[in-house]
């Protein structure tokens, strides 16, 4: 790939008090690429995603999205970032449409009513547009948070265990959505705990252990068993 990577991490270190979570982490993700990140609980996957999302400042090293340093130029980086994390980022008392209108307007867009309706339709929530989010399932909430990005068009998607809590239909939907995001030139970095079909969309696999990347390999035709074996080898503990 000749273009600059959309995600570039170099020598990243993050210490919380006495606990060094990330220690010398290097990673690059290019446009049209999806990287799946495996690692034990507490290995630092979420921390890395938060640093890239400009939510946490690194102790040392650099993290940059679309050429903007996340610590020194967070304002420049934010419009290019779409974060899907554990928090649903929705107001429970508002409807799907109202939530979407709020978040997109706050992001500086001024979507028309038809644009909002169209975004909801592309995440298959058009029928629930006027229902309060309080009544939504986990899958519906995740789809709603992705609806924002249909309008905001970030270049990078950062996902923290996006498939957890979803039923099969929702998982399949998410897979297709991520594939088309990739096809559109976006970059994806996804933290995950599973070795199975959720990895299908990933082009590369990285394993996070000891605060750094222990393995960075193309996913190619690795089977779930292959992945599990690699995981165990590089993290020295049972999944």
């Amino acid at each position: 790939m000749s273009a600059d990577p959309l995600i570039r991490v170099a020598g990243l270190r993050k210490t919380f008090g006495n606990h060094r979570v990330l220690d010398g982490l290097d990673l690059e993700v290019h446009a049209g690429e999806a990287v799946a990140m495996l690692g034990a609980n507490g290995a630092g996957k979420t921390t890395l995603l938060k640093i890239l999302a400009t939510l946490v400042r690194p102790t040392r090293g650099t993290a940059a999205v679309a050429g903007h340093d996340c610590a020194r130029d967070p304002e420049g980086a934010r419009p290019h970032i779409g974060l899907v994390a554990h928090g649903a980022y929705v107001y429970e008392d508002l409807t799907a449409l109202e939530n979407l209108k709020f978040w997109t307007t706050l992001a500086g867009l001024s979507p028309t009513a038809s644009a909002l309706a169209g975004a909801l339709a592309s995440v298959e929530l058009e029928r629930a547009a006027d229902e309060r989010v309080r009544t939504f399932s986990a899958g519906m909430k995740r789809r709603l948070s992705l609806a924002r990005f249909v309008l905001a068009r970030p270049r990078v998607l950062l996902l923290d265990e996006p498939f957890s809590g979803l039923d099969q239909r929702a998982k399949k939907w998410l897979e297709e959505h991520l594939a088309s995001f990739k096809a559109g030139g976006g970059a994806i970095l996804m933290a995950t705990h599973s070795f199975g079909r959720e990895l299908a969309v990933a082009d590369r696999l990285v394993i996070l252990a000891g605060g750094a990347i222990a393995l960075d390999t193309p996913r190619g035709s690795l089977s779930p068993d292959d992945v599990q074996r690699l995981y165990v080898v590089h993290t020295e503990d049972a999944p």
Partner: protein, 215 residues
């Protein structure tokens, strides 16, 4: 370096003491208790100096994220609270034999007490936030708000007390005082300022070593 400052401070404090208790004249109506003014007035001046430093250091920290600025703000706030407390205590001690009461809502005591509570709140805030980066940022914002509040406190309390009442006994203007008294005040002011610098320097060193140990 800090030890040299410490040494000079000791000399200055000794000089200040001599000036206050030996050289300066005994006040006619109040007696020797009035000499406490030589501690009380310089204390409040140094407190204001300390809080001005907090303001500048806070702004520098938010603008440039220099950790040293944060440590300076923290140390200066602590020493400022110390001197503010000293001002209140000496004011109270001065007041008891002079007016027969430990406390009075006169302009200076009231203003200084409000400052005392504001910056105690500053220290409380710092103590309650674990993340050092967040603590530094929030403290800097509070330091700025508190500093801009100082002139508001000044005017409001002064008008509150003096529009219907005569000004307090504790506001001697330097222009109306004999030279010896002014000299004694100045020596003590210099001594207390040096003490402030000494305390802040030691505190900043301690904070820096704590930060380095944690990293």
């Amino acid at each position: 370096m800090v030890r040299i400052v410490g040494g000079v401070t000791l000399v200055a404090l000794a000089a200040g003491l001599v000036m206050a208790f030996g050289v300066a004249p005994r006040e006619v109506t109040q007696g020797n208790v009035q000499r406490i003014m030589y501690v009380h007035v310089p204390s409040v001046w140094v407190a204001y100096l300390a809080f001005a430093v907090v303001l500048v250091a806070s702004i520098v920290y938010l603008a440039r994220r220099v950790d040293g600025a944060d440590r300076l703000a923290h140390a200066s706030a602590e020493v400022g609270v110390l001197f503010t407390g000293l001002t209140i205590a000496t004011g109270s001690i001065w007041g008891k034999p002079t007016w027969g009461t430990w406390w009075t809502w006169d302009a200076r005591l009231t203003s200084v007490s409000i400052l005392f509570v504001m910056y105690l709140g500053y220290l409380l805030l710092r103590g309650m936030i674990e993340d050092p980066d967040q603590g530094a940022r929030y403290a800097a914002v509070l330091g700025i708000v508190a500093a801009f509040n100082i002139p508001l406190v000044h005017f409001s309390v002064y008008w509150w007390r003096t529009l219907h009442q005569p000004p307090s006994l504790m506001k001697p203007g330097p222009g109306t005082m004999p030279g010896v008294i002014v000299a004694a005040l100045m020596v003590n002011f210099v001594a207390f300022s040096l003490l402030y610098v000494y305390f802040v320097a030691k505190r900043v060193n301690l904070l820096r070593r704590e930060a380095e140990a944690a990293a």
